[in-house]
Symmetry: C2
Subunit: 332 residues, 2 copies
């Protein structure tokens, strides 16, 4: 069905499209008489007028669209971020496009192109490995972009992140002080800087201790399987051991392994896991976890992108939030 346009209103109300536009946009300066104003409003209402934002976007060179690119929207972590971003973006009048790139630089590139073609005013991205080139290209075009969660080593971009290294160091310190025989770090075999930071923080603290440690690195595919086989190989229950899972997915896979093997927490092994997820709450022992201030991060990312859209500045600021260690009963 053909939608009503400003032209239809103008025709019916017997005024010009300019006048209709002025009235509909409630411009302060425009001095339209109450009579015509009311007539226009009535007609708009009666023919069920819905403004065509695409036409407006074209004219204004502003789409009021924001693109969000994450690794996978079905991951708890990102869907929670997406939800908060959605709410904040909406408050500022933006609508959200969402895309998942599965850690795949090709898909990532595709999404940036797609969003760019759809004329999003800006993008909030969690960049993947090997996305530097694509992003540099966007930066050269002065496309407003902010990062969330992740950041790039060789590209300076405004964004929000947490104190990955510090919090990891803190967790390690916490464990070191508990006098474990061995502490196992479970991380990803990746080049993503924020994850390397977590590993570095851990390494830094462990190096200063006398505690024996192991680092298990997992590929991003087949997480569940790989975590299980590698824990099988590395977990020595004769030692007093603590395991530090550096992401929610690793944590879930690890916890599942412990359940399967009937290993009790914290009696036989202690553990800490990164991120917060409903799943942790169903584990028989309350899981000590590291909580990222997702809501605040999301809110700040929207604030940043909005200000970049409003007034682009190269090398915009990077905001670091503090993750919080939520101590529960999974560490003895």
């Amino acid at each position: 069905m053909k939608r009503a346009s400003i032209k239809d209103i103008a025709r019916i109300a017997e005024v010009s499209v300019a006048t209709v536009s002025y009235v509909l946009n409630k411009k302060e300066g425009s001095r339209i008489s109450e009579t015509t104003k009311n007539k226009i409003l009535e007609v708009a209402e009666s023919i069920n007028y819905i403004p065509n934002k695409i036409a407006k976007s074209l004219k204004m060179s502003k789409s009021k669209l924001i693109g969000l690119i994450v690794a996978d929207i079905s991951n708890d972590f990102y869907s929670n971020i997406a939800r908060s971003i959605e709410d904040e973006a909406m408050k500022l009048g933006y609508t959200l496009l969402i895309g998942s790139c599965d850690e795949n630089p090709e898909k990532f590139k595709k999404l940036t192109e797609l969003f760019s073609e759809q004329q999003v005013d800006g993008m909030i991205i969690a960049p993947v490995v090997d996305s530097d080139e694509v992003i540099n290209k966007l930066i050269k075009e002065e496309y407003p972009i902010v990062t969330i969660d992740r950041y790039l080593k060789n590209v300076s971009l405004p964004g929000v992140m947490i104190n990955n290294s510090e919090i990891s160091e803190y967790i390690c310190d916490h464990l070191v002080k508990k006098d474990f025989d061995e502490i196992i770090y479970v991380g990803y075999d990746t080049e993503l800087p924020h994850l390397l930071d977590r590993q570095d923080g851990f390494d830094k603290r462990i190096a200063k201790s006398k505690v024996s440690s192991k680092t298990i690195l997992i590929g991003i595919h087949n997480i569940t399987e790989e975590v299980q086989t590698k824990l099988e190989e590395n977990l020595d229950l004769s030692k007093k051991t603590a395991i530090y899972f550096s992401s929610n997915k690793l944590g879930i896979a690890g916890l599942r392994y412990l359940i399967d093997k009937n290993i009790s927490v914290p009696e036989q092994v202690s553990l800490v896991a990164f991120d917060e997820t409903e799943a942790y709450y169903l584990f028989p022992t309350e899981v000590s976890f590291i909580q990222q201030p997702l809501f605040d991060m999301a809110k700040e990312s929207v604030k940043l992108i909005d200000s970049q859209i409003d007034n682009y500045t190269p090398n915009g600021k990077r905001v670091t939030f503090h993750a919080k260690f939520m101590e529960r009963s999974s560490v003895k």
Copy 2:
């Protein structure tokens, strides 16, 4: 930075914008010489041309945008659906707008308006209670809409759903045959038809049995708390009891209660839960659950909306998928 347009290409390549448009769109019929074609392609490449889909949308009255409205994108169930929809939509050249309405008809309305203004070609929606009016308005405009997961009682809309009543009846039957003293249905205090169907299916089967039953209905807010207090009131461990949680959120809340109370499954109580969620995998006992074919549903919903966009038909078809009972060890 000003983006390059077709006009820039035309100017540099010394051809008309029409010719550029033809080349860029690789139209079969258009017989442009290889020479000019190559020149145009080269220029486009060199000035980093990105097509403006908004201009194209305006001209074509097709935005290649699809809106998805769910209750909450941070809910596992919906984020999984969203992910599959995203992938399928992308394959057909659509980009996805996502909105969460929190079961709030006002927000739902707002989202439909927003999406409508953004000229989405169609919407995939999980309608909320009291959204009939808004939806009827959209139907009157012949706006392509398909439902997913949910449906409306008094409004006929194409969409995908599962056999809620049947599967519930089946689950109840399964439990009845196991000779429990009491079976507790945990559901929502709601008017959402698909949830009432689950309840009806259960009731239908239980009525034909001699098993004692209880129905616990929970408000959509404070789920965790309410599930716990109501289970506390209603669960009588002296009886051989089975609990049927009719959604993932209810299941998670219920499982948490059982953990807190140290009630072992299936020794002291048996249970079945609707939907699939990572969380179930961390429960000490493997949870028997009802799996919805989310991927197939998502895929079909995209297929339906695409065909509605292509060729609008009132009273489009409703596709019912079959949920699957995944029997694990939580029922004795």
